[in-house]
């Protein structure tokens, strides 16, 4: 199977063997059904063993899988009448972020998300889903529009990070990200963020100041990529696997750290194995999330978001002051 990952190879091999046996019984005059049954039982156990005991690095591989569903994939399954809005009305249209208006089960919403390409050509156009300042400014423009028309906002997070480039710095990458964090704080509508792939650093967070933050089971969210962390911590980017384990970047980690509200269960082996089923799974969580948040008034929504982020962080107190006298 194309795009199989190292850790799931035993599953793939067994699947192949079963398929071969089935093919064989079609032509040969032997009954192998009991053998096949046994193998299928073994496959089920193997799948459970492997997919339910995934290591952080395995999840990183799934989160980065080239066939992993993107924002646009989920948009097409989850929303009706999506109308894409381009441009920041100032400099350009950053295709690393898509956004627009749509309906979710009849409810008008604004949808925004990082967008990777499906192939090299599209990836170049979309800069591998790594935005420039105009991307964040487009996102903010659409959020303000949503606020004006009292539409809930749904953000899909899926980026390695903001693009580290010259032009991005010249046009104010930092300001653009900071402005989003600042302005998202005062939105009077529900903001729901769903990490669907890689949540890379500030580039992810710029779409991430939500009332609810959900994560797909095999997505990651971190301050820096495992490679980057390894380079800084141990001056060795090849230690990425080790970094992935120590940085606590998986969905269960973030849930434990109090950053994430819900972990959205993935299709066995990862979302790319069945986009439709995965989208339905996301749809259910989204629906419940919207229902809950729409019980809050505008002021309550702002307070709710404030309290959510205020509560993140870990600290304790000494018995005595050791500050300046």
């Amino acid at each position: 199977m194309a795009g199989e990952l190292e850790f799931e190879r035993p599953v793939m091999e067994l699947k192949k063997k079963i398929a071969e046996l089935k093919e064989f019984t079609k032509t040969a005059d032997v009954d192998l059904s009991s053998e096949i049954e046994k193998l299928e039982a073994r496959l089920e156990k193997l799948e459970t063993d492997i997919y339910e005991n995934m290591k952080p690095w395995d999840r990183v591989q799934i989160a980065r899988h080239p066939a992993r569903p993107t924002t646009q994939d989920y948009i097409s399954y989850l929303f009706e009448d999506f109308f894409e809005c381009h441009g920041d009305r100032a400099f350009g249209d950053d295709e690393a972020i898509v956004g627009g208006i749509a309906k979710f089960r009849g409810l008008p919403v604004t949808v925004i998300g990082h967008q990777r390409g499906k192939d090299t050509k599209e990836n170049i156009r979309r800069n591998f889903g790594m935005p420039h300042p105009e991307g964040y400014r487009k996102a903010l423009r659409l959020m303000k529009q949503a606020d004006k028309f009292r539409r809930p906002i749904i953000c899909f997070i899926d980026t390695k990070g903001a693009y580290p480039g010259k032009a991005a710095e010249e046009r104010g990458q930092s300001e653009a990200i900071a402005k989003n964090l600042f302005e998202m704080a005062s939105l009077r509508v529900p903001v729901i963020c769903i990490v669907i792939g890689e949540g890379g650093s500030g580039g992810a967070l710029a779409l991430g100041v939500g009332n609810h933050i959900h994560m797909l089971e095999n997505s990651t969210y971190s301050v820096i990529s495992p490679e980057g962390a390894a380079a800084i911590l141990w001056k060795d980017a090849t230690q990425a696997k080790k970094a992935a384990e120590s940085m606590r970047i998986t969905a269960p980690d973030l849930k434990e750290l109090g950053v994430v509200d819900e972990i959205i269960e993935e299709v066995k082996g990862g979302a790319h194995k069945d986009v439709k089923v995965q989208a339905a799974e996301i749809g259910e969580v989204l629906y419940q999330s919207l229902k809950d948040l729409m019980n809050l008034s505008e002021d309550q929504l702002i307070d709710h978001r404030y309290n959510k982020f205020k509560s993140i962080g870990e600290y304790s107190f000494l018995k005595e002051f050791i500050g300046v006298k």
Partner: protein
């Protein structure tokens, strides 16, 4: 700048083939030649296709009547302020005569037609600029009629949709013309703050003061393919910077690439796309908002 537009549109204005059999119901001639691909086609069929060339998709100029007929639901249009006409505040020679002549020629009172109507059943206030009247230039009446249409939208609590087509400010009205930019913008801001939905559809050409005011102030800024949209005229920019500008400079597609437009929408899809946008601005679903 104005001059620029004049020459440009003159060139693009579709040529009609004189025909001896031409009757009153085909006043523009039975055949029309596309100024872009030079192919000749039946005028009637071209009109049926919303004046989009069958061969090259060139969007021929639509006047306000054709636009309203193609965009609004049949017989839903109710015009307002159709009797407002310009004064001659600067006593510009021949201005009054020129206006009279254009009124005679176009059968409309000024370069914008305003009113209310429905789009697939959804009520809107609408303003359609008409480039066949004084090049769609904006003077006191254009500014006032648009402002009143915005106020109408506010009063009725319905979206405001404007189709722009203009060479810019009306020179013969001097600074009063400039001030119409501010008047319309002030009205749009109040409407917007009251939660009003504004959709601007820029058609060929949308330039000068119109592009720098209400045309650019939509919640959704849309344009027809190939439309010329810009502030300063191409020739003035070229003379100023002493550089040749790219072929697609100031086209709708150029603006989309540079972040100024939400979308470029072919005329044949316009009604349905805008209808969908309108419906997203209606409450829906089994979700219950908390009352504040």
């Amino acid at each position: 700048m104005l001059k620029d537009i004049f020459t440009k549109t003159k060139k693009k204005k579709y040529a009609t083939i004189p025909s001896e059999t031409a009757k009153q119901d085909v006043p523009e001639g039975i055949m029309t030649k596309c100024p872009n691909c030079k192919k000749i086609m039946y005028t009637k069929e071209l009109v049926k296709n919303l004046k989009v060339c069958f061969h090259c998709q060139y969007h021929h100029t639509m006047n306000s009547k054709e636009r309203l007929e193609s965009f609004l639901d049949a017989s839903s249009f109710e015009e307002i302020n159709a009797n407002m006409i310009s004064e001659n505040p600067l006593n510009f020679p021949d201005y009054i005569e020129k206006l009279e002549k254009d009124r005679e020629k176009t059968k409309i009172n000024e370069a914008v037609v305003t009113g209310t109507g429905t789009v697939n059943g959804q009520k809107i206030a609408v303003a359609v600029m008409d480039s066949t009247f004084r090049m769609g230039s904006m003077g006191s009446v254009v500014g006032e009629k648009i402002t009143r249409a915005i106020e109408k939208a506010d009063e009725l609590g319905v979206p405001f949709i404007i189709f722009t087509a203009s060479g810019g400010a009306r020179m013969q009205e001097g600074v009063l013309s400039l001030m119409q930019m501010a008047k319309t913008s002030v009205a749009l801001k109040r409407f917007s703050d009251n939660g009003g939905l504004i959709i601007s559809i820029m058609t060929h050409p949308t330039t000068g003061g119109v592009s720098a005011s209400f045309a650019s102030l939509g919640d959704y800024n849309l344009a027809e393919p190939g439309a010329l949209i810009g502030f300063a005229g191409r020739r003035i920019i070229e003379q100023t910077i002493r550089e040749e500008l790219p072929e697609d400079f100031q086209t709708a597609e150029f603006l989309l690439k540079h972040g100024q437009l939400d979308a470029v929408i072919p005329r044949t899809e316009l009604k349905d796309k805008i209808s969908a946008i309108l419906s997203i601005h209606q409450p829906g679903g089994d979700f219950q908002w908390q009352e504040n």
